[in-house]
Symmetry: C2
Subunit: 372 residues, 2 copies
């Protein structure tokens, strides 16, 4: 088993989520918390009930506020280092559900500055361009243009920089070092940068000119940024941001691999053709037995099978169908080829529609973009 | 003799300018260089002939470029930690002369972000307000609104941040530490900040969309910033900035004191009344003998006398009159009271006119301000 590394810039090895909750000091999403959410939403998104979102900070406090009539804003984002892949969509899908159910505004930060400063190969002009491309994927998911505010850091820097320097002033290099593992060879843009990401936690309050509670749906590796925001919030008289954290959608090479824009072979992009998706899933890591005979006799392991996992985490909302597939695959009555076929059809149905909406989004992206 | 400390944030002790030239690795302004400047300007500003500007980097290269028809831009600025004092005006006066003689554009950076992040007492709203107040003093000196571009960092951050992150990406914490003396307790805004100041060196090139040579007239303590710019310039395909450095106008407490916005007792502000100026100069450090009798017999020392020094550095352009005053004061035929009277009249004549122009400037400041 490879060593687990989870930082905002590197995720590798076998991820032990229970250990992360302890190490990061977050809380598990309990059945009680889910019930409390459901009181307001009626249905419960399968990403919550299936523990794809498994951890949180202060989600109960967000509900306290909501119950007292104080609406929260959502904040999530994207680091534009390449094309959007389906793993990126995962938290956005729940974010959309939260926007609808809680009538919440979304602030969506696209960090072209980060990806430029952290990359050996990307120019700023390229990360900026990718940022606007990635935004199309968000818009394609159906977010409300009246309540969704997308911004690309360097094109919204006048607003962001003013907030960021207030955070930066209250964060020593020592703290940034401890939280992010910086050292003397780190460039001074990277060491400043956490204050740009932390700034979005306070952006809704700055825009609304009152204290706004903020909930961040994001993958667990992004949590360190909010530690900085949470430290600084009381000093600037803002609320500490709350968060709910999702697990990573595994890469095509199996449970210990991760989807990454820079590794196309382990990744399904939102712009892949139906044929590419078919090929990629065909080659994906399988939890089935080595021979068909053995699979029929002993069954496979859906918990490590890529296709089963993608259906579970994103593409099969129906719990009964998931049970049927997992049990059939476990017993061997459903083969790897069959489950891959189911998934390929699901992904391609989704992508066909997504790609159409994505191109439509090009025409009305301006309705969503915050500029200084 | 107190220890000499010269950094962008602290200047104290007895300043040994020859030692600074060696330590900083700059060059003395030689009589040959002055002659070469004079070839283009006809007259020579007394701040140059009197070695108030004493050191430079690449001034000869600036003249090479100029002689080949490539005009340079000027860059200087102000950190708005308080009201403008006459020491601040010193480099601006030469900058104005350079603008006139070389038909040069001026880019003037007001660093409200720096003064906020480096201060225990100042809020950003206050440094921003002070920035626009300080700008009035620059405008009052008569700069050409067609060729003078003033900007306050946080109100021009969209443009500045994009340039700054390109510099920051190429500057390690190690380098910043070595150049500026940062340590682990330094906040991450301060460690980033040098890239905002360095960015202005490349701003004229960004605006003009071609490589523009830049000359920075500034006090010698600001030199470390340009080391960062000079390191990074070739990597970004810009010219290295050139600089000419002035000595500090001593504070009212004598040659080893410094004017500072935060020490009103050692400082003459541009907004001081005639009465305040009279009182401050009356109390200023004198190079005269202890008793009038002794002064008449042995004479005083104009080289340490505050009033003589202010006349020399700023308020008496006439070399013959300076000679007369210094020699008379040295022999004892001119008393401390007399030389102070001469200075008070000169400063008050200047400030009366300056304060009038300063209030006028309020009405047309917009002509000078760069905004995103």
């Amino acid at each position: 088993m490879t060593k687990m590394i989870v930082t905002p810039w590197e995720v590798s090895g076998h991820i032990d989520y229970e250990k992360l909750v302890k190490e990061f000091g977050t809380s598990n999403i309990t059945p009680e918390l889910l019930k409390r959410i459901q009181k307001h939403t009626e249905d419960l998104h399968f990403m919550l009930s299936r523990r794809i979102f498994f951890s949180h900070r202060d989600m109960d406090w967000i509900l306290d506020k909501y119950e007292r009539g104080e609406k929260f804003a959502l904040y999530t984002g994207r680091g534009p280092s390449g094309d959007t892949h389906i793993g990126h969509l995962l938290p956005w899908v729940l974010t959309k559900w939260l926007q609808d159910r809680f009538d919440a505004e979304l602030y969506f930060q696209i960090t072209d500055d980060e990806k430029y400063m952290f990359s050996d190969r990307l120019e700023l002009e390229e990360t900026n361009r990718l940022g606007y491309e990635n935004a199309l994927d968000l818009i394609a998911l159906g977010f409300d243009p009246e309540k969704t505010f997308i911004f690309v850091d360097t094109d919204y820097a006048k607003t962001m920089y003013k907030i960021a320097i207030k955070i930066a002033k209250r964060t020593t290099f020592s703290t940034a070092k401890a939280v992010f593992g910086f050292d003397n060879s780190t460039n001074i843009g990277m060491t400043f940068w956490p204050s740009m990401q932390a700034a979005t936690c306070f952006l809704p309050s700055v825009i609304k000119k009152k204290k706004v509670p903020v909930l961040i749906p994001a993958a667990i590796d992004q949590d360190p940024y909010w530690r900085i925001s949470r430290d600084v919030a009381p000093k600037l008289d803002y609320y500490k941001p709350a968060a709910i954290h999702n697990t990573f959608l595994p890469g095509l090479q199996g449970p210990d691999s991760k989807m990454s824009s820079s590794r196309p072979e382990s990744t399904i992009f939102t712009t892949d053709s139906a044929e590419e998706v078919g090929k990629k899933i065909a080659r994906s890591f399988s939890g089935g037995a080595v021979t068909m005979k053995e699979h029929k006799e002993k069954g496979g392991n859906p918990d490590i099978d890529t296709a089963c996992q993608y259906l579970y985490a994103m593409f099969e909302p129906d719990d009964d169908k998931i049970k049927e597939i997992f049990s059939g695959y476990g017993k061997g009555s459903i083969t790897t080829a069959e489950v891959k076929d189911v998934l390929v059809k699901k992904i391609n149905d989704f992508l066909k529609e997504h790609q159409r909406k994505r191109e439509q989004a090009r025409k009305h992206i301006d309705k969503f973009i915050l500029k200084d």
